[in-house]
Symmetry: C2
Subunit: 451 residues, 2 copies
């Protein structure tokens, strides 16, 4: 075990590290957009080359969608798998960005760009950590496998077949999923699970074309129809009321509930960072934390119908749709959840409301007392930080493919992002200090992992 | 009274009439757009010039917004006021148009363009009728006043001060409001009133920026907030439930109810033209007709929040808004209605939902047995058509300024548009034959009006 502190060496290479990260961020790898294939491949190829430069054997592996970047390096008894993604969320609404989302800009010690917090900063910090370790310490005393996909932000539609076809290649003793983040107080968070998700679009249709709203009293209005359907999905208190949905949820383990008690959840700071005076349903303290980490959600990510321009247009819209993500806990598989939503709406006469299953992902859990969790905590101590362990995270990812299907303990650690990083939103950013620290952190993690 | 049939003369001038109408339609006078002032003025000036060419003394009269075109011609004891508008609705969504909305195109005997049915075809048919009458019959035996505004499609915000400042100028024995239309069976409709309207935007706000939807269980979601507010505005059966709103409505008169019986309302044809298998709330027959003509509405003209693009984006939106037009009947003034909506929402804890009063207009009624209604019916007989008299129309307009404030009996007649004209929607059109007939019709109306 070599746990040498490499922070001094990182200090001397900041400019180079920053320039290389900016290069990565300039590539607008938005996976939700159609027809960017050449750009996308260029971004994947760039990542592959960086892994080669760090000493790994790296290649692009084809999928039905964007390619996976795969790389291997090191020898030893143990194997560590590192997962990340090189794609990013769409940057819209563009007018809310203070600088071009694809021209990384430093302001007040932070770097602003789409994807810098989710997940390009994290991906690059690991690659730089590898390079640093090899230059300063020597050959890696374990096998490290990188596995970087390009479709995480659209729900990883081609990852399952890829993982299932490459189970042997991906075999490992532990997996570091994409990075975590620092909490409001600057403490790094280690996550031991992810929520599942069922992403659906509900669509309602009225007349074959927009009508003059003089017909508002007699024409079917698809916007009203969606409102009527939505009112059966949550009650007037904001509680989810889809028949059978909550009953599927497995209750949290004792370890999960214990871990929850050690999480310093500051809902006042959260409200302040969001600029709101209350949380949903006026939740506070531990009740809010349980809701956030251990309960399912029924979120409206978008609802659209009719005229959106300035002034007033008097029409009955011809169509309406709502995009909803249901974040799920263990026991709630996305397929059955979508079936429940359909049955629920049909039973109430909404068989005209189309339920489009856009994608789903399973929830996943690694026990909070696993060895890899211990290594993550010790590596944080190595850079002078005290980590907080979360039984799970509010977000989702295809971790169940690794954690459940391949049976590899899987956690999220490394904290390039912070609570104010605005991931998925305009003005996404990371603190430069956090980025440089993450490089030291991962190098230290590598030093501890082999033993 | 000269009721000479001028249809033969119209027949010989079709090409010229069509070209002149197309010229009018090419001017994209969208009043909902900002900063089109020079274009707008050009359109108003064009109309003024056409009125001059038809022999009238015409001028532009300034308002706080777009100018009114005013013209006078003829001498006699009686005075007829003609109201129309040269502005049009926005053409969006553009991708649903089969031809450019501002490049008028003839297909299958119909002319397609934004504004052709509402209201440019109507405006031009009256000007051509005047020219025709003077060329074929002689000087007008009564005073005809034209009064053509440029802000009808944004709710005529500057018309009230204009009318109030020019009451003497506009004085008349009767007023022909903008044109009516033909019903599904091709019968011209004569309307004796308009509904009022309160157009509001409800706005809800969440965090100061879009959040990752991992926070979907605890972050305030403005889209859900609007859905919760909307569920108090209509019940699950689609009935309006705003406290006190329905109680304000004056009941229809005996004459109105009698007129209703003579209206050949074909809800099956309406459903077919709209491509729907039922009307709102499964209304049929006379119940649907009463709802359409004599009851208020609470229509969603647009609702928008969060991600609208392709694929799935996982956010909690930061803001949401819904555009609603409430069509009102006599007794429901828009100011008090907006106040009721605010009180209703506040009483239910929705004081965070902003109610923006975008504009309002009063309902107006002229008795169905007024002399001008009789003249309209006889003029239709003069071109071989049987008119159907409606006590009111589902749509709104600032008719109360003339009908109520100036006390001038005001009706809508002349039928350039038809039930399939898609007014306010993509592929707006009129039948060419209806346009040419309207020219004969108005010439005949002028001949009858003096007596």
């Amino acid at each position: 075990m070599d746990t040498r502190d490499l922070r001094g060496r990182v200090e001397g290479s900041k400019d180079a590290f920053l320039e290389e990260l900016k290069e990565f961020l300039r590539m607008s790898s938005v996976s939700a957009r159609e027809g960017d294939d050449a750009d996308f491949r260029g971004c994947a190829e760039w990542v592959r080359q960086k892994l080669e430069e760090a000493g790994a054997e790296a290649r692009l592996m084809e999928t039905q969608g964007h390619p996976v970047v795969y790389a291997e390096i090191g020898e030893g008894d143990r194997t560590l798998l590192s997962y990340g993604h090189y794609d990013v969320q769409p940057p819209e609404p563009l007018e809310q960005w203070e600088s071009n989302p694809f021209e990384p800009t430093v302001r007040g010690g932070s770097l602003f760009a789409r994807g810098v917090a989710d997940d390009k900063g994290d991906v690059m910090s690991r690659i730089q950590a590898l390079r640093l370790y090899r230059e300063e310490v020597g050959p890696l005393p374990f096998k490290l496998k990188f596995f970087i996909e390009g479709e995480e932000e659209v729900g990883s539609p081609n990852l399952a077949p890829f993982v299932r076809a490459n189970g042997e290649l991906l075999r490992a003793d532990a997996c570091l999923w994409e990075g975590s983040m620092k909490d409001e107080a600057g403490r790094p968070m280690v996550f031991c699970g992810t929520k599942g998700m069922a992403y659906v679009e509900l669509r309602a249709r009225g007349a074959s074309h927009d009508l003059h709203s003089m017909y508002g009293g007699i024409a079917p209005n698809p916007a009203w129809r969606l409102v009527q359907a939505l009112r059966t999905i949550k009650d007037e208190n904001g509680e989810i009321t889809v028949d059978g949905l909550m009953e599927l949820a497995e209750p949290p383990s004792e370890g999960d509930l214990e871990a929850l008690k050690n999480i310093p959840f500051d809902d006042a700071a959260l409200r302040e960072s969001w600029g709101v005076d209350h949380l949903d349903r006026n939740l506070t303290g531990e009740a809010a934390l349980r809701e956030y980490l251990l309960k399912p959600t029924a979120n409206i990510a978008g609802i659209h119908s009719g005229y959106a321009g300035p002034g007033s247009k008097t029409i009955v819209p011809s169509e309406a749709y709502v995009k909803m993500d249901f974040r799920l806990v263990k026991g709630q598989s996305p397929g059955p959840v979508v079936a429940l939503i359909r049955e629920h709406l049909e039973k109430r006469g909404f068989d005209d409301v189309e339920v489009v299953d856009l994608h789903g992902v399973e929830a996943a859990k690694t026990p909070v007392d696993s060895p890899v969790v211990r290594t993550a905590i010790e590596a944080w101590e190595g850079v002078g930080a005290e980590a907080v362990v979360y039984p799970t995270v509010g977000g989702s990812g295809p971790t169940s493919l690794i954690a459940t299907e391949l049976g590899i303990p899987t956690i999220m650690t490394g904290a390039v992002a912070n609570a104010g990083s605005r991931i998925h939103a305009p003005n996404e950013s990371v603190k430069l200090d956090d980025y440089f620290e993450a490089i030291s952190y991962f190098a230290g993690f590598f030093g501890r992992f082999a033993s």
